[in-house]
Structures are given as C-alpha cells and as structure tokens.
C-alpha cells in the first residue's frame, strides 16, 4: 500500500473479497502461489479505493477521453 490502511477513514466498512472465487468467475484458475501474489495487493488497494468510490455522486462523470485539455483530435 502507499501508506498504512486507515480503518474507518470515512466511516465505511470494507468487506473482504474472496479473490479466489472472483478469479474463478473470470475463468482464471490461480494456483495457491499465484493467489498469494494477487490477493494481498488487491485487498490493500481495496481498502483505500472503496471508500473513495463511496464519495462519488451521480453527476461526477468519468475522464475517459484520451486527451486532457480538449486539444486532441
């Protein structure tokens, strides 16, 4: 993680995900060793990312264009 997770930073409980089940649902059959490389970083990222998502309101649009300042073609 970029810094120690702050539990309850926004008063939101982050549910633990079953990464192995999610991987299987994606058709990804990870060995125990692979899972060890995948799950902890994703779980740590989840702890920071999920509370941020909860702050979003419907009017906030994505930044999906591939140019920053309306200059591209």
């Amino acid at each position: 993680m970029d810094r120690a997770p702050q539990a309850g930073r926004f008063g939101i409980v982050v549910l633990m995900k079953n990464w192995q089940a999610i991987a299987q649902a994606h058709g990804l059959d990870l060995s125990a060793r692979d899972l060890e490389r995948v799950a902890p970083p994703l779980a740590a990222l989840e702890e920071v990312f999920r509370p941020l998502v909860k702050q979003l309101t419907p009017d906030m649009e994505p930044d999906l264009e591939l140019h920053l300042y309306g200059e591209g073609e």
């Binding site: 970083p41 994505p62 930044d63």
Partner: protein, 461 residues
C-alpha cells in the same frame, strides 16, 4: 560532454560524428556484460548514419542540435527493420515496418541511433531486472537497482554510452531510473509528445520523454520530439515554444510550492537532506518558496493504480494464453488487473477527473512544486522491502509513491540529480508543473543546475 557541447564540437570540426559514435559503441561494448543496458546494438547502422551526418555537415547541411549525436531508445519504440521487444517474450520476434513518430523525428534531425535499450518486461515494473534479456544494473553500484522501467535508458546515459535516451513513463518509469542513475529525466505533459509507434502499457497514463546528462539537453530533446501527431488520438495541439532555457536564466519571483506533507514523509535521510538543500538554493536564487497543501495523494495513487491495472491487463489480454512467457512479477500485476471490475475502472476515471480539478487549484497558489523523485536512493538488487521512516514498505510501492500520481494528472515533471547519498548513490528531485508548463520546469531546473545543484559524473562513465 553534453549534446550542446558535442554539437558545437562537430560544427567546429574538433571531432566527427563517426568519432562520437565509435566512442559510444566502445563504451557500450565495455559495459554491456556488466550493466546490460542494451537489448540490441545497431553498430553498423549507427556508423552509416554517423558517416552521413559528417558528409552533410561538411556540405553545409545542418539538421539541428541532434545532427550527428549518438542516441538510443528504449526497446518499446518501433524502429523500422529493427526488432522491438518491449523487454518481453510476447514481442520477441516483432520487427516493425515503421518508426515511432519520435524515432522518425530524431532521425530526421540527424541523430545517430545506437540501438534499443533494455527495460523492465512490458515496461511494467521498476527494477529492470529483465528475465529474458538480463538484469540492468546501476552504473554507480552494480549491487543496486537502476530503477525502471526505463532502466537501460538511465544506465546508458549515466555511463555516457548515449547522449540522450528515450524512455516512457506510465507510473514513474522515466523519473525513477533518472533518480537512481543520476541523470535528468523529463516526463512531458500528457499529449505533448506522440505515443504513436510506442508499445503501450496504460493508454491514458503513458508518456514519452528523454533522459539526458543535463537539463538543457532535455530541453533540446523536447524541442526535437514534441508536437501534434494526428496518428496519436491523445496528441495535443497546444502551441510549442523553444524549451531551451537562456544561458543566464533566472527563477527570481517564481512561486515554488514545497509540499511538506506526503512528499516529505517517510524519506531516506539523505534524500530529505539533498532535496531540502536544493529548495534552499532555489530560495537563494530569488524564488518564492512556500509550503503548499495538496489534495489527497494517497487517494490519487490508488486511483492511478486501478486505472493502470485495468489498462495493462487489457493491453496484455491477447498474450495471456501463454502465461509462462511472463516473469512472475509482471504476471501477478496482469492477473490483478484481470480482477478489477469494469465499474471500478470507470469509477477510477470519475475520481481522476474530480482529483484533477482539485489539483488544478494548486496552480493558482504556486507555479511549480519541488519534491523528491524517489523516497530513497536505489535499493539493493533483489530487495523486496525497504525501511523508510521507521516502517517497512514494499519496494515497488515505495519507489513509485512520489511519482505515480502525476501520471494520472498528466502534469509535466522534471527529475534531476541533487546530491549523493552517504553510500555514493544519486539522489533525485522532481519539479512538477501545470499542464504544458515544461518551459518553466526546465528553466527552474537549469537555474538550479547552473548554480551547483547536481552530482559529479558517474565514475563508471
């Protein structure tokens, strides 16, 4: 010798381009076994180009500052007829039929192409310990990492194998090797330099830029490669300027923000000392240095990671049937990316827009920021954790934590060496600016460089 000095020497006939290329090729041969900076060396082609450059200069044809100057490019830039691997097995037999736009521009400017530089596999990592083409080593101490993903670019410039090397930066991949190898590295604004003909890692995060021996050389390189390219859908039409700072450039009155939270937390003491020294030098030169509070950088890094995980997984999807062709670290990241839900990618892009509008407010208070490029000097090869500020951190996350967020914002950032650690390793700072303010960053960097901020040449050069 810098590009400017070499260009002057060529025109004064003190030496020829063939002599410069021959010297560069000899350095490559001397260092290749130990540093593995190159994947492919195009010696014969380089000498042909150097001979042509000499003939043209003798005939009064002058293509500009790169005429006759030996350079090299990271092995993810398309080079016509020359294998382009991306440091991976996935592309090991890929021989492009075209040049990347930036390669085309350099060749049109008379540059002499020495070859293709080693890198982290797929540009997806910060060690450049490439499992297929050998690990790049740090020329200041081969027991330490050169950084990455443009590790070969950093090693080649630090050892004067090349006057300039092109790199790419998706989450710090120019600034990290520049910091660890003691070179200048410039990540321009997103859209300023064409990505056409560059193997992608993260479409909305990839930037192309130079690593050089001096700030003014980086400016010369940006002059050579910047500009609108209709073949890159993200390319900007923002007006170009001459990016090269004046000889007596001043930073008097420039408002430099000093982000004391986040960027100055959990640092190696030698890094903190060197960067604070450079900031004090800026103040002594008349810059207005003031503390500035930034929006949530931890959140920004998380957003940037979600975007990169998803985009890189999308890029690599066609290659995933053969999992064994990837190194374990890259495979783990690609697998992580495949587990990011589509909704999270979209939400990360929503957060990215929100955060950019928050960060844009910073430019009302200051003209640029000065901060460390990396929180520590180059870690030892093989280290997976590093202790900083009394806590243990994953080396990859620690190394990218001060650089990654800037990619999500698309802002320009210039890394330059500002000191040596007690163990003799380079320390780098970064100057971050508002969109398309590269000229200001380069002027600030040049003023610092002109006034003693820097390091001696790498002893291995």
């Amino acid at each position: 010798m810098t590009i400017r000095e070499a260009a002057a020497g060529l025109r004064a006939r003190r030496f020829s381009s063939v002599e410069l290329a021959t010297t560069a090729l000899a350095r490559i041969e001397r260092h290749q076994a130990g540093l593995r900076a190159f994947i492919t060396v195009t010696a014969s082609q380089a000498l042909d180009q150097a001979r042509q450059a000499d003939r043209e200069l003798a005939a009064g044809i002058d293509r500009g500052p790169f005429h006759g100057i030996p350079v090299a490019v990271k092995d993810l830039f398309y080079t016509k007829g020359v294998r382009t691997t991306g440091g991976s097995k996935a592309y090991e037999n890929f021989v492009p039929e075209i040049n990347a736009t930036v390669v085309e521009k350099l060749l049109a400017g008379g540059a002499v192409m020495l070859g293709k530089l080693n890198m982290h596999e797929m540009a997806y990592g910060i060690t450049s310990a490439n499992p297929h083409f050998g690990p790049v080593r740090n020329p200041w101490n081969p027991e330490h990492s050169p950084g990455g993903s443009s590790g070969g670019s950093g090693a080649a410039v630090a050892t004067q194998m090349a006057f300039m090397a092109l790199g790419s930066d998706t989450g710090g991949s120019i600034r990290i090797p520049a910091s660890f190898c003691g070179t200048v590295g410039l990540k321009p604004t997103y859209g300023r330099v064409s990505r056409f003909g560059v193997l992608p890692l993260g479409y909305s995060l990839d930037h192309v830029g130079p690593l050089t021996r001096s700030v003014r050389d980086a400016a010369l390189a940006l002059n050579a490669i910047a500009g609108h390219d209709p073949r890159d859908p993200a390319s900007s039409r923002f007006p170009l300027v001459d990016f090269v700072p004046d000889e007596d450039c001043s930073i008097r009155g420039v408002r430099i923000g000093y982000p004391d939270t986040f960027f100055f937390e959990n640092l190696h003491e030698d890094v903190e000392l060197a960067v604070r020294g450079a900031i004090a030098r800026a103040e002594s030169l008349g810059a207005l240095v003031e503390p500035v509070r930034l929006p949530d950088m931890v959140a920004l890094n998380a957003v940037a990671r979600v975007v990169l995980l998803a985009e890189a997984a999308a890029v690599a999807e066609p290659f995933m049937e053969n999992r064994s062709q990837f190194g374990q670290d890259v495979l783990a990241l690609l697998d992580q990316g495949r587990l990011v839900p589509a909704a999270d990618y979209v939400n990360a892009q929503r957060l990215r827009r929100k955060m950019r509008s928050e960060f844009d407010e910073v430019w009302k208070e200051v003209d640029c920021l000065i901060a460390p490029a990396t929180p520590s000097p180059a870690p030892r090869v093989g280290d997976t954790t590093i202790r900083l500020g009394g806590r243990e951190e994953d080396v990859r996350l620690a190394t990218t934590r001060l650089v990654r967020g800037v990619n999500a914002l698309g802002y320009p950032a210039l890394s330059l060496p500002c000191g040596l650690s007690a163990s003799g390793l380079p320390v780098g700072l970064q100057i971050i600016g508002a969109p398309f303010e590269e000229a200001l960053l380069l002027r600030t960097g040049a003023a610092l460089e002109d006034n003693g901020v820097g390091i001696p040449p790498c002893p291995a050069a």
